[in-house]
Symmetry: C2
Subunit: 558 residues, 2 copies
């Protein structure tokens, strides 16, 4: 066991030059744009040039319903890719980029942990290659052009009370949630209620992550609805002639970033949309590159298998034509005991009764992956030193009853060596036939699609739409958006829409209160309650501990 | 004469790989961090390692009082460096980075023009290496930590009516000039009046540009005053424990960016503070690198020689221990006629009378440079096809009477070839002895320093402080800031504080209405009126014309 912090472990390793990493996974030099010695952007033209080259196997890493005990999805994804390399397979991992908000807030870094990390972790956590800044700039250019249009005469007849576009900063800043701007007199804009989102919640983040190339990017940007007119017609970015300049700002951000794991496995880290109001996956271009460069491409989705994996399948795979070969469901014994009702402080004690009570959460996710998504899966138990043999045996027994194997993952402590068992099982699963399928037919009505998700994935009794949501469903259908996939924005802490219902609850309905379209991203967001799109800083922000020495060496990230 | 647009000219040239450019000017490979193939950051450790290597000659490019006719300071700086190379000298140019605000607003690009440009101009104008985003993020982290401190109990007793720190976006967005934020209830911040500045107006921009290394950067960030307490005591970034995280965000932004001119002359482009509320020069680190890498380092200052050059000398040179060898004063015949009272539409016609009437503006700048700053100078006439021989002869005759030569600069049309005459004169001037001196003694009182600038540089009768400004001068002196240099924030369109007084006005006073300290940057800002720190977009923003094609090629920048 190591007692070193993540940043200490990361700074002890000697990474390969990124040109070496690229060469090792077959990226031709002409596609590489170095950002310093250890980061590179890979030109999206590579995908066009290699379109006839066969793809590797796509492996999705997802998890049980999250708890305060932590699961370690990113750590497992990194360790699995390293483990696949250890057993002689050509593996590449594709992950999301961290936002600055959590880095300075509570969470700290987001680049794996222990001996399963991507490096340079400091850069990945702080700006990286500037993608999020580009998204913020494009988002705020859109906002400035919109308000400027109104200020300069409002030829389009935009209703200032129906502006749906918000400004963005990549920062946890509650002070900007609700503002009134345009104050100060007639030369200073039009007074109106407004607010900021954190950059990762911008629709542009989702657009960038789903765009297949620069033309598709521009077309999606053009379709984004930023406001409605006095007579209720949508106003798009194209109406404001903004898509060209936004695409120009995003031309480099669209190129996936290549870094490496501590064990020099190639890692694409690109894009990081919210997993509630957006789909929560890294970019399509990064996943496609990982599939071209690896025989095995490991990727992750946000939150648990009911939310993140469902969106991965119904939104990302559907739009990009991706076909996963296997799924890893990450769980910890501690988290399962939490689902069984144990308080966070008592999770270190063996408790088979609570474990048995919490196991249905895992088993329902397993059942969904196998039987609803139709994909072979393995449960990865992210090992903790407090796990007992009796507890691990119980998890294994219950999973085996569903025909699913369990692999103990020790990648946090041992890196790829600790991921070999998981890697072996994943390779085996990838050879199995699978019945991959979407959860719903996109051509079904909005209400039908919602009902299908609630019944098939959440195992609830059905969806309930408020009167308001019903009206919105009709309006969106009338506007021609009825056949878009659904992006469910509900609590990640339960299968239901009530965060307090742990385990695998039964006998509930899910209430959808608001429906809105992200026309550029290409999905309908179904909100079951208020979703916070601008976090705040805690009493003692992580930022207070971050420092840099005279040689540029960062400390205090964890 | 060419009728191609700037971007067309720029895209026709084949740049050298940036590693070649660096090698050609003697930058050791170990200091280079590539950003793609044509941009690099140079590690500031190079300056420490080479501190015993002799510096080249420092040449400042400044200008007459700006007019709507345009002067071409950046174009002349680039062309002069190319011209120096053409006559066999080892020259490097150090310039400011453009802001996204003007790129999307009225101005278009800011990377020189015609055949005297720096490339890749698209990247330089759009994000470049992300420095301004880093500054914006550090600025907004500071703001979020400040408001979070108040929200979490306000242990420091910060008066919400005395918060001096503003948030920033790198965008022309008048809607954000005056806002009320923290609305929405007790969990959503503290309601207060607030506003945004454009990123280049952030004190952090000035701090980054004046910092000599990362320790100095951190010390300056720590000293920044962000608010005052209920009992009037300054609250600094250090009090909020923010300097470490801000410095971590800025660690790469502190490294100068290396690009090249169309003729492959090395160009450092780094930092771009406002020239009114800040000092308006590229970074000290970039200028120092240019001096190490070139026998001749060409740099520019903001606005005219009364504002930009004065701050270059009294703020930048004073803090960094720089000693210029020669000054180039850029003028156009058209602008001089404008100073002589000709309307913009009539500037193409020969008008010797108006020219003679406008010439005192140039001559007063020449006199200041020679006799107040004590530096040898040359007047560079940025040639226009409409200039007549009689007009050019008149300019030359009047300058010669002051012992100063005139060089016709044709760098816009001919590149370095058109800058050879100017280059020859600059080389000659660099061999002259000079009596370089600051305008004022920093230890004089604030009022004395202001009065000295007004009398010696502006040739006015003296400074007038409002009652409010007098009180502020006393407060700042009591707080220990009395010995800082002055950063004058007045109109750039006149020697006086009245933009309508063209030429070389006499018999005026300059009224200072507000004094505030930029304690991190290390100067006292003297405001003669309202200075706009958040521009707006025009009726038809340049952004509407910008586009990018499927290969990532940008159009519509000019």
């Amino acid at each position: 066991m190591s007692f070193k912090s993540d940043i200490e472990i990361a700074q002890e390793t000697t990474p390969l030059k990124i040109t070496e990493v690229a060469k090792n996974c077959g990226v031709d030099e002409k596609y590489i744009e170095q950002y310093g010695n250890y980061k590179a952007k890979i030109d999206y033209r590579m995908l066009k040039d290699l379109k006839d080259q066969p793809d590797g196997k796509l492996i999705l890493v997802t998890a049980i319903t999250p708890t305060p005990a932590g699961e370690g999805k990113t750590t497992t994804s990194v360790g699995l890719a390293d483990g696949l390399r250890k057993i002689g397979k050509k593996a590449v991992v594709a992950l999301r980029e961290p936002s600055l908000g959590p880095v300075f807030g509570v969470k700290g870094g987001a680049a794996g942990g222990g001996y399963a990390q991507v490096v340079p972790m400091e850069d990945i956590n702080l700006h990286f290659t500037g993608d999020f800044h580009a998204i913020g700039a494009a988002n705020n250019l859109m906002a400035a052009m919109l308000d400027n249009h109104i200020q300069q005469g409002n030829a389009l007849g935009i209703d200032v009370k129906q502006i749906t576009w918000k400004r963005a900063v990549d920062m946890n800043d509650r002070q900007l949630r609700h503002i009134v701007d345009g104050l100060g007199g007639k030369a200073q804009g039009v007074p109106r209620e407004d607010g900021f989102e954190i950059t990762v919640a911008s629709e542009i983040m989702a657009v960038l992550c789903l765009a297949s190339d620069i033309n598709d990017l521009k077309a999606r940007l053009a379709r984004m609805i930023v406001a409605y007119t006095y007579d209720g017609k949508p106003v798009t970015a194209h109406d404001l002639k903004a898509e060209g300049a936004m695409a120009a700002l995003l031309k480099d951000a669209l190129k996936p970033n290549l870094v490496q794991t501590l064990e020099h496995t190639p890692a694409f880290i690109h894009g990081g949309p919210f997993a509630n109001i957006a789909h929560g996956c890294n970019s399509v271009t990064a996943t496609r590159m990982a599939l071209k460069m690896g025989d095995y491409a490991v990727t992750e989705a946000g939150f648990a298998a009911d939310l993140g994996a469902e969106k991965f399948i119904d939104i990302k795979c559907r739009m990009a034509g991706l076909h996963p070969s296997a799924v890893v469901i990450v769980a910890t014994v501690r988290a399962l005991k939490y689902h069984g009702g144990v308080a966070k402080a008592d999770l270190n004690n063996e408790n088979l009764e609570a474990l048995e009570k919490g196991l249905p959460n895992l088993l329902q996710h397993v059942d969904n992956v196998k039987n609803v998504y139709g994909l072979p899966c393995v449960v990865a138990i992210n090992a903790f030193p407090t796990d007992t043999k009796a507890e691990l045996d119980l998890v294994e027994k219950k999973c085996n009853e569903l025909g699913v194997n369990v692999a103990l993952s020790e990648v946090w402590a041992k890196g790829g060596e600790g991921g070999k068992a998981l890697a072996e099982e994943v390779v085996r699963l990838c050879e199995q036939p699978n019945n991959f399928q979407f959860v719903y037919d996109a051509d079904a009505s909005i209400e039908q699609k919602l009902d299908t998700i609630v019944k098939k994935v959440y195992h609830g009794d059905g969806v309930v739409l408020t009167a308001n949501a019903k009206k919105q469903a009709q309006q969106l259908t009338d506007l021609g958006f009825g056949n878009l996939p659904i992006c469910m924005a509900k609590t990640q802490y339960s299968f239901s829409d009530d965060a307090a219902l742990l385990g695998a609850p039964k006998g509930f309905t899910v209430t959808v209160r608001n429906l809105k379209v992200s026309a550029g991203a290409g999905f309908i967001v179904a909100l079951t309650g208020d979703i916070m799109t601008m976090p705040g800083l805690p009493k003692v922000p992580s930022a207070e501990k971050i420092d840099v020495d005279e040689n540029g060496k960062i400390s205090g990230l964890f």
